[in-house]
């Protein structure tokens, strides 16, 4: 049975389909192997698109409801960061100031997107308690909602990228279109990343502060606000074998007008395949235990 056929058989959210849904038999614990369970839930989660699309969107609104400039606070803090970094680090690292401004801006918006999958992904399952304990809910949808919400936040920051590009009067050229597949791959990776971290953090709550510290270190280890050449030939492997570096690169490079090298695409694809496989396996294996972790 293909994936899409499975999707068509899952409990359906649209009202027109209600009569069909009512005839479906739900057996718990879910029958079948780990991958059958998780693919079934994946299909169900995709079907629940209206739920998580709304959840991610309204969450951005709710989070900034009591602020004046709302989600643009993130843009503002990014701008402050880039200005300070551009002036101080630009001279410490002996970089061309304009080029460095662009470099830090592109790096930081892409890094912010990837980091949010991990740091904020840590809490997505824990935060879903009220939903998870009231109904049978495909937890994968929490990850979808989170990736969608992160994308919305990214769009706010993207405004600043445009400001910098126009301000420094620089066109990245046609290479910028590589950013589209780059963004798609980052988001697909984001689903497994946030789901995996979310599950782990639900089971072992110590991991929530641990992931936050780990990401603080990761930003210094990954060439984000310093160029990779500065590592020198002996330490270059530290970036070459860092999947986060390749993940950043496939989007940042196009934004700066550079075509990302093939090796980065391959790294990202490999991360996606390996990460998703492991996540789906763990998810399928533990799905019916997860509500007991709350």
């Amino acid at each position: 049975m293909t994936f899409w056929k499975l999707a068509a058989k899952s409990p359906i959210m649209a009202e027109e389909m209600n009569t069909k849904a009512s005839t479906k038999e739900v057996v718990l614990p879910s029958p079948g192997g780990p991958f059958a369970v998780s693919l079934n839930e994946l299909a169900e989660a995709i079907h629940m698109a209206p739920v998580w699309l709304h959840a991610g969107w309204i969450d951005v609104i709710w989070r900034f409801r009591r602020t004046r400039i709302g989600a643009f606070w993130h843009t503002l803090s990014l701008a402050a960061f880039v200005v300070v970094m551009g002036v101080i680090w630009g001279s410490i690292l002996h970089q061309d100031p304009y080029q460095y401004f662009r470099y830090v801006t592109a790096s930081m918006i892409v890094w912010g997107l990837i980091a949010s999958f991990i740091t904020e992904g840590a809490g997505i399952m824990v935060a879903g308690q009220s939903t998870a304990l009231s109904m049978r809910f495909p937890f994968i949808a929490f990850a979808f909602a989170h990736v969608w919400r992160s994308l919305l936040m990214f769009c706010h920051q993207f405004v600043f990228y445009i400001v910098v590009m126009v301000g420094t009067w620089y066109s990245p050229g046609w290479a910028v279109f590589y950013a589209i597949p780059g963004l798609l791959l980052i988001m697909m990776n984001g689903v497994w990343m946030s789901l995996f971290i979310g599950m782990m953090c639900l089971r072992v709550r110590d991991l929530i502060p641990a992931t936050a510290s780990a990401m603080q270190i990761a930003i210094f280890v990954t060439p984000v606000f310093w160029p990779k050449d500065m590592l020198g030939p002996n330490l270059a492997f530290a970036a070459d074998f860092n999947p986060l570096y390749h993940l950043v690169r496939i989007m940042r490079d196009p934004l700066l007008g550079i075509v990302p090298p093939l090796v980065s695409w391959l790294w990202v694809l490999a991360t996606l395949v390996v990460g998703s496989t492991i996540t789906l396996w763990v998810y399928g294996k533990q799905r019916d235990r997860m509500p007991y972790w709350y």
């Binding site: 409990p11 009202e15 614990p29 709304h54 009591r66 304990l133 009231s134 109904m135 509500p291």
Partner: protein, 361 residues
């Protein structure tokens, strides 16, 4: 065909237990297994519900009623055994899917509707009707975090009942609304029950269960102790309350008191033993109520139980406090004091003695 069936289902929670915790049977809750580090909330549950079934869940606090509802809703998959369900499920628990305290009532309604499987169009069409029913007025556009718990109940109830489910699972707590809303809720619920094919409701209120359900399960420490028509089960439940209250601790006496007053309010006469237990609890709260003391003594006497001198003295003292002219009672008091006054606590003996002196000679 709507159906809900459980085959030998268990719900076991993993817990971190400190070493040295001994396995002691607690009055409430499921069994704590220190060796496997699990709390068994429900064990060996098997039953089947078909179209038209209205099931009531009864039991003391921690007997497993709410866990059972979560098991039926699919939120807790059984750790052993199996559950099969066919039909759209709607729930009204103390948790609400998709609730965010920073959102307004209207936004939360929308998000809840989506979780319950309503389409955007349907939610918008029903929105005004739901808001009208909840009677929240302008509050509907204010953040939920400033709502009172009664307002939250109104909101939750209005949306949970707006979805027209095939299987409806309700946790009691409808009682938190004020009387006027409770009445309205009851009416709405009756409507809904007629339309939904399976209803499961967990409650402490016998009256509610007796009027709504055609079948009841009595849970105790996570087991089904009896299963049958509501009326038989109510009797078993009463018996279990009476039995528990024989231990004489405040919590189970309170339960007996609640049960007895509930029966009295419906015009039923509680069994003597239950009334005795209820009175014993009530007297700890109002120790100066002469009428209650008199009733207590006559309930004891009606059961042909001995009336301890201490009880009799307290009753007489309270009656005399209202009506000092009752010489028959002072005489009786004198006899008690002369006979076995050693059994009375000092304080009581002194009070009795002074009461006798007062009416004097």
């Amino acid at each position: 065909m709507t159906r809900l069936s459980l085959e030998n289902a268990w719900v076991e929670f993993p817990v971190n237990l400190r070493r040295g915790l001994r396995s002691v049977m607690s009055r409430t809750g499921g069994a704590i297994d220190t060796e496997r580090s699990v709390v068994t909330a429900l064990r060996e549950i098997s039953f089947e519900l078909r179209e038209g079934d209205r099931l009531g869940l009864m039991g003391h606090n921690g007997a497993g009623k709410s866990t059972m509802l979560r098991l039926l809703s699919g939120a807790y998959p059984p750790t052993r055994g199996r559950i099969t369900s066919v039909g759209r499920i709607s729930t009204l628990f103390n948790t609400t899917p998709g609730l965010n305290p920073d959102g307004t009532g209207r936004e939360n309604l929308y998000s809840f509707g989506l979780h319950m499987g309503l389409s955007r169009r349907k939610i918008l069409a029903k929105m005004e009707e739901i808001i009208d029913f909840a009677e929240l007025g302008d509050y509907i556009d204010l953040p939920v975090r400033i709502y009172s718990s009664g307002m939250m109940t109104r909101l939750g109830f209005s949306i949970a009942t707006a979805v027209e489910p095939e299987i409806l699972l309700l946790d009691e707590g409808l009682a938190t609304g004020d009387a006027q809303f409770a009445q309205k809720a009851q009416k709405k619920l009756n409507d809904l029950i007629e339309r939904s094919s399976i209803l499961v409701i967990a409650s402490h209120s016998e009256a509610l269960l007796a009027s709504m359900c055609n079948r009841c399960l009595l849970l105790e420490h996570g087991r089904v102790v009896s299963d049958g028509p509501a009326q038989t089960l109510l009797e078993t439940y009463r018996a279990s309350v009476i039995e528990a209250a024989q231990a004489d601790d405040a919590a189970s006496l309170h339960r007996a008191y609640v049960l007895a007053t509930e029966m009295a309010r419906r015009g039923e006469r509680p069994p003597l033993e239950l009334e005795e237990q209820g009175l014993r609890y009530a007297l700890t709260i109002a120790p100066d109520d002469a009428g209650m003391w008199q009733r207590y003594v006559s309930v004891l006497a009606a059961q042909k139980k001995p009336v301890p001198p201490q009880i009799e003295t307290r009753m007489i003292l309270n009656v005399l406090a209202n009506d000092p002219s009752r010489t028959d009672l002072t005489d009786r008091l004198r006899i008690i004091l002369a006979g076995n006054s050693g059994e009375l606590p000092d304080e009581l003996r002194e009070r009795a003695a002074s009461a006798v002196e007062l009416t004097g000679v």
